[in-house]
């Protein structure tokens, strides 16, 4: 059908616009690289090689993209329902902290219970941390931006300032190391695994520098689940209706509260999973600084992915690649400030693109709808 190709066309336009903003960011970035004595060409080829140059680089790009995909999803889902979740950071911390505590506290659980338990507990607490502002919004009309920002501060206080000090056993600002039974599978240990080691090319993963762990695949699964929820379920239909036009949704007999609370709970759980993965798969304990601003970068990831779950995967990988390749850029002599600046430029131009799109839509609406 004609409209099918239209749809594909509009998706391609969206993708093209996202790519365009990245290219513009990189071009503007060259101006700053000129400030150093390095050539932009060398810098960017270092960026590329660092992110995609060999198998380990690609694997670690995916590793770094994992929490970003998840926080991106945590922003994207409520966005579709008309809500702006700035609280992924706090939800991530709460989820990670819970998983960290469950991970070291239970000392004699078998792995097939301990790991799922830690994951679910972390996601659940993250979900509560997201669901609470959803509840406040739905029942008392408290603006979700304010509520989530405040909950971010409370989460930092609870976990980093207070929580770590209750449990810490060394000088390190971290909870005790989790039990092996709660650890997520790391691909560098693939040759020790009874089944995975039999897969073709398994040995490629068995490199000590590879930090990719199973949470990446949980993130992909989360994206698919969210896509299904949004576009295939009745609840998703209702969430999108509320997001586009609350008055129309009310007329259609849709109970906005249900969608708002569910969307925020699920997004909190997904952000929680980002923290869970960092604790159980990357650091093996909840430690200060492990959140690294993922909750906020997630906003940019969601926007660059057009708040579509599949787009968010691509957006997450892009930012993962910038982080991973940025290291190589630093090794090649570009100061880390410039690397961060280029990452910031990408975020800036993605945001600018968003404003541009709103402008385009307005212009079109002016003419299109009488």
């Amino acid at each position: 059908m004609n409209n099918y190709s239209d749809k594909i066309k509009s998706i391609l336009t969206d993708l093209g616009l996202s790519l365009l903003s990245i290219v513009v960011a990189l071009i503007v970035g060259t101006l700053f690289i000129f400030l150093t004595d390095k050539s932009p060409l060398d810098a960017y080829s270092a960026l590329y090689i660092g992110a995609f140059g060999n198998f380990s680089a690609i694997a670690n790009t995916l590793w770094r993209s994992t929490p970003l995909i998840l926080t991106g999803l945590a922003v994207a889902l409520p966005f579709r329902a008309g809500l702006f979740n700035i609280g992924a950071e706090g939800q991530l911390l709460m989820g990670g902290f819970t998983a960290g505590v469950v991970g070291f506290y239970f000392t004699s659980l078998p792995a097939f219970i301990h790991l799922p338990f830690a994951i679910i507990a972390g996601m659940f607490v993250g979900g509560l941390w997201g669901g609470l502002p959803g509840f406040l919004k739905a029942k008392m009309d408290v603006h979700e931006v304010i509520a989530t920002i405040m909950l971010n501060h409370i989460a930092i206080a609870l976990t980093i300032n207070y929580g770590i000090n209750i449990f810490r056993d060394t000088g390190r600002p971290a909870t005790p190391r989790i039990m092996d039974s709660a650890a997520m599978f790391n691909f560098k240990n693939i040759m020790d695994h009874p089944f995975l080691s039999k897969l073709p090319f398994a040995e490629l993963f068995a490199h000590p520098a590879i930090r990719l762990h199973i949470n990446f695949f949980l993130a992909l699964a989360a994206a698919v689940v969210l896509w299904y929820l949004l576009f295939k379920t009745t609840l998703g239909y209702e969430m999108r209706a509320v997001g586009f036009n609350p008055d129309g949704a009310e007329y259609g007999g849709i109970n906005a509260s249900k969608g708002i609370i569910t969307a925020m709970f699920i997004s909190g759980a997904v952000a929680g999973l980002a923290g869970v993965g960092e604790v159980l798969g990357t650091h093996f304990s909840f430690m200060q600084g492990m959140d690294a601003g993922y909750g906020f970068t997630g906003i940019a990831v969601a926007l660059i992915g057009q708040t579509h779950p599949i787009g968010v995967i691509l957006g997450g990988i892009l930012f993962g690649a910038l982080a991973q390749g940025g290291l190589e850029m630093q090794f090649s002599g570009i100061p880390s400030e410039i690397v961060m600046l280029i990452q910031a430029l990408v975020i800036f131009f993605v945001a600018a693109l968003q404003v541009f799109k709103v402008y385009l839509a307005k212009r079109k609406a002016k003419g299109g709808v009488e």
């Binding site: 059908m1 004609n2 409209n3 099918y4 239209d6 749809k7 066309k9 295939k232 379920t233 009745t234 609840l235 998703g236 239909y237 209702e238 999108r240 209706a241 586009f244 036009n245 008055d247 129309g248 949704a249 009310e250 007329y251 259609g252 007999g253 849709i254 109970n255 212009r363 609406a365 002016k366 003419g367 299109g368 709808v369 009488e370």
Partner: protein
Amino acid sequence: MPREDNYILDMQNITKIFPGVKANDNVNLSIKKGEIHALVGENGAGKTTLMNILYGLYEPDGGQVFYEGNKINLDGPQDAIELGIGMVHQHFMLVDPLTVTENIVLGNEPRSGLMLDQKTAKREVKEISDKYGLFVDPDAKIQDISVGMQQRVEIIKTLYRGAELLIFDEPTAVLTPQEIDELFEIFRSLKEQGKTIIFITHKLKEVKTISDRITVLRNGKSIDTVNTADVTKEDVAELMVGRQVLLEVEKTEAKPGAEIFSVDNLNVKDNRDIPAVKNISLSVRKGEILGIAGVEGNGQSELVEAITGLRNVESGKVNLRGKDISKYNARQIKREKVAHIPEDRQKRGLIMDFDLKENIILGYHDLEPFSKNGIMQYDNVAKYTQDLIDKYDVRGGGMEAQAKNLSGGNQQKLIVAREFSHDPEFLIASQPTRGVDVGSIEFIHKQIIDRRDNGAGVLLVSAELSEVLSLSDRIAVIFEGEIVDVLKASETDERELGKLMTGSKSEAGGESNE
């Protein structure tokens, strides 16, 4: 080259293609200086598109535009405005918290230093409003004035920017009969001062009253341009639709049955918390149409919202088949086989960013066969949608098109299709034919009467007196939130209703309000 010298505007072979739709197909339109030119055609015929091209909002895919003898290429509305082309959109583009004067001069402000020169601005606005008989209160805020007044502000704004050719896209759709008369007075005085007017409407009466010439579009093509004096309303309708159209409603005597719906001493407040519906009691029987006549803003909207579960009932009862539903929400009321065509299709009736098939199940989306166990069944929805858009002739883009890309009238048909397809036993229709073309009005009216003859009760709210009169069996007149009288439709006329609507009690009795 333009074809004749006295043409101020000559659009030749204009073509505009949207994905899947040829909105304009070799359209020709020539406008004489100083005339009032009506542009008519079915919903989706391409009228708005053509005007948007003229105003620089769309770039045509083919064709040429001559203005005052010169070929023009517009890059945007700013270019059009500079040439002296102004447009009054159907949805006004005013800034609510600013005053009338501020809105008019916005973008071209006279300044003293960095500040707006209030005195000069006010003087200039007053000059224009005196010259054309466009009275406005220059200090009132937009949010506090009526729709008719806002429209005047839009007109003054275009004149302030030096418009010689003024485009009006369905200006009368949102006006009361009184305001329409006033608008036509303004048209006449603009014409006297040498301005040229292009005006889109679906109301053939208006075309006959005010226009000098008429251009008819059908399916994106220009069919004919005629002198208004040479044609009848029926001729124009036939040109538009391509067949004869019944302009009068054909209906038999109602055979009312038992009462299906009533409200007792209903009180409802408006958005500002001021009582809008005061102690209203009404009843509708099966197989009859009760019309509500009234000047817009007299509590009709609040009444309808209250009985459809979209607004709180302060006190009083809403009974459906004898059951009190005043505490029901919109979903519960829908499930009682109540259908509702809302007055504002863009705010309430549609999710503009949803496509046709998502819109056509709104409110029924959680029922089988559209949804099973919480999973949408889009295959079933697609089949259902195709059936309905065929049956109701919803044109423009097909079921995957977004509702916002439909023409206004087709949006309305989409809502009608949805609401009529679940065997409603009680139907609430607010402005059911607003912005709809004559052929579709005929169709929608037939559907409403069919429902009635199948035993449904109908509550009809319309600002269109002729519609209320021709469709209703009984008419309740609402004024300042109260029902002032209930009359048999066959025993009253526009004059009597007009009087009642403005608050004067009728001399000639009629059936009293039980």
